[in-house]
């Protein structure tokens, strides 16, 4: 693939603006069904993709499965640390087994930060990071940025607010890298316990005040509150969170008329966002899900066609 020089997709931190645009442009071509890429289901025919999901996931795994099948490749999904293939095994041993199964690429979801990099050092095939602990979730951020670009036009100069649990969010990190590389004005917002001030040195604005963070935003990207993990030590209660940092319908009047709302799902309705806003015309949540397939087709095609 012209200009593409990455063997794996480990995170957006490691990509340039050109790399990101290349993926997004290709995703757009898939979405529009351009002639060069038709029929798409011939493009990766005969290739075998392994979904190695060591942590629960529904939409990311399904989106990758649909994307893989849309390109004509075979997909095998191995799920959970307790599956018979991986039971008690080290990542190294699992990787060797998966490689021996004849994989042309491995899509990895894992709770350990850095595990896709480790896997890429163990096997010869491309690795696609489908979420590694709190580190990165590049395909999610790419579909977010694709959706933003689709709705708002070029990303440069746009004001994007990422709101919620920044500290533990891989989606926040990947978007932070992707959006700043493309020239957006990014504000990170959330409670001080979930948003370290040092992050400001990465060229973003840090805000602990919801109104300030949203009123001039072109888009608000909400993050899921993983209350099982953070409650008690990081914020007092879901009710308090919702009051201080939830996107309630009463805040709608503060938003720019054309502002859009994104959420990587699954949504905690009434916590991060009120139902009315989640289902309003401002919400692009379902559009994100649909775009996820084209973005993942682009990722798979770039990585596998390049290595073939």
């Amino acid at each position: 693939m012209k200009g593409w020089h990455h063997n794996s997709l480990l995170g957006l931190e490691y990509l340039s603006a050109e790399d990101i645009n290349q993926i997004l442009d290709l995703a757009k071509s898939f979405k529009e069904g351009v002639a060069d890429l038709s029929p798409a289901d011939n493009l990766l025919r005969g290739k075998r993709i392994i979904n190695l999901f060591m942590e629960p996931s529904t939409r990311t795994r399904i989106a990758f499965e649909i994307a893989t099948k849309s390109l004509g490749a075979d997909v095998i999904s191995i799920m959970g640390e307790a599956s018979s293939l991986t039971k008690g095994e080290t990542l190294h041993d699992t990787a060797m087994n998966v490689q021996a199964l004849g994989a042309h690429a491995i899509i990895l979801r894992h709770s350990s930060p850095g595990s896709p990099l480790l896997l890429s050092q163990m096997v010869q095939v491309p690795i696609i990071n489908a979420g590694d602990g709190s580190h990165e979730h590049p395909s999610q951020a790419l579909l977010d940025i694709f959706t933003l670009r689709e709705r708002l036009g070029p990303i440069e100069g746009k004001r994007i607010t990422i709101l919620g649990d920044i500290l533990f969010s891989r989606v926040a990190r990947s978007n932070l890298w992707g959006l700043t590389k493309l020239g957006a004005n990014v504000t990170l917002a959330g409670p001080s316990t979930l948003l370290p001030n040092e992050v400001a040195s990465l060229g973003v604005k840090v805000s602990h005040n919801l109104q300030d963070a949203i009123e001039s935003a072109d888009a608000i990207m909400l993050l899921r509150i993983q209350h099982e993990r953070q409650q008690a030590s990081h914020f007092p209660s879901l009710t308090e969170y919702s009051k201080m940092f939830g996107l309630s319908k009463s805040l709608n009047k503060l938003l720019k008329k054309e502002a859009i709302i994104l959420h990587p799902g699954p949504i905690n309705r009434g916590v991060e966002i009120d139902c009315e806003l989640a289902d309003s015309s401002k919400s692009v949540i379902l559009q994100q899900v649909a775009n996820g397939i084209f973005v993942r087709m682009a990722i798979l095609y770039l990585l596998i066609a390049r290595n073939s």
Binding site: T90, S112, P113, L118, D132, S134, R173, S201
Partner: protein, 430 residues
Amino acid sequence: MKGLVNCDLIGARIVNPASNTDKCIDLFIRDGRISYSSKKPEKCEKIDLTGKIITPSFVDLRLHQKDFAGNRSEKLSITTERAARGGFSVLLMMPNTNPVADSPAAVRLILERAQKDAKVEVLLAGTLTQNAEGKALSPMGSLMEAGVSAVSDCPRSPSNNKIFINAVKYAKMFNLPIIEYPRTSDLSDGSMAHESLLSFKLGLQGEPRISEELAVHRAIAVSKSLDVSIHLSSISTYSSVNLIREAKKQNVSITADTTANHLILTEESIQSYDANAKTEPYLCEESDRQSLIDGVLDGTLDAITSGHDSWPNHLKKVEFDKAPPGTMGLETAFSATYKALSRKAKDPIALILEKLAINPRKILGQNMDLLVENELANFNIVDLGNNWEYSKKTMHNGDSENSPLLNTSFNARIVANFYKGKIVYSSITH
């Protein structure tokens, strides 16, 4: 006795800060004992050591050797071989052995094994609290009778203040050195790296600097209040260095060390999730490293340790968060320290000997008659200007390679180690 050395060491510079010695003088080893005048047999081997330095051998205040009942840790014979190559003659083993050194029976078992397998002297610290859990005092009197040389819960610290204070009071009765590894467990539990912008980027749960700082505060307050000496182990942050410096100005009876790895490395070493750089304590930022160096230079930090903790390769070649913390350091402690300090100190070799040989002995209350006429030879031969690289080829062959300094080049090296009148390591060729 078998193996006792007879040789003439000609032309070396002898540096021994314990006796303010720094001069070129020939050393004659007869039946393993030191002599400053040539005695019979006259025909023994003559070794030209022009340009080399003879120094007292080193004492390490923190070694982890985890298992005396299984195979989770490198064998003590291999660890002590590494120690010999690094110039150490005495190692203080932390109590997180298996079994844990919290009962007289465990202490006797471990010391018996250590005596059998070790190439150099291995001492043992007993726990401050039972199973180092911080809930009940360990039987320190009985542990002392069984042979422990210090007490510590390293790599933990009792979180309960009452237990900590009583453990310190109790240990004082026996004049056992108290070694505190300063950590606030509820701030450190679950962490994977030093808390910083880098740990945020990597998605690794960070240990805040304040975890060490609070425990250092506590140790200083307890030392002052009870008038007990406490040694703080493996200081890693600038804030701790500042606290210790201030405490020493007020004559609080605190001593402290850092590890050689912390003088030469920063958190940048974990950028690619290299578990071999997952040290304990974690590597911090450049400002911390600079402050540790300043602390060594101005005497705030009394000693430098290896912090040696070897793990079999398969336990380190895993996901970063799943890899146990701890890295090797015995073979590189001197060379790394020299690299970190040689351009900063007025007399680097004397300073390094204070930190690796003299002060650790003082902290453990050991004999300070070093390089004395008629004593058994216990010294190193050091070669400054010896360019070498620490690599899988140059390290002693064992089950572990978990050093963050793999493939690092150095310009100073231990070339021989004499221990109790015998040569336990030598790379000198004739």
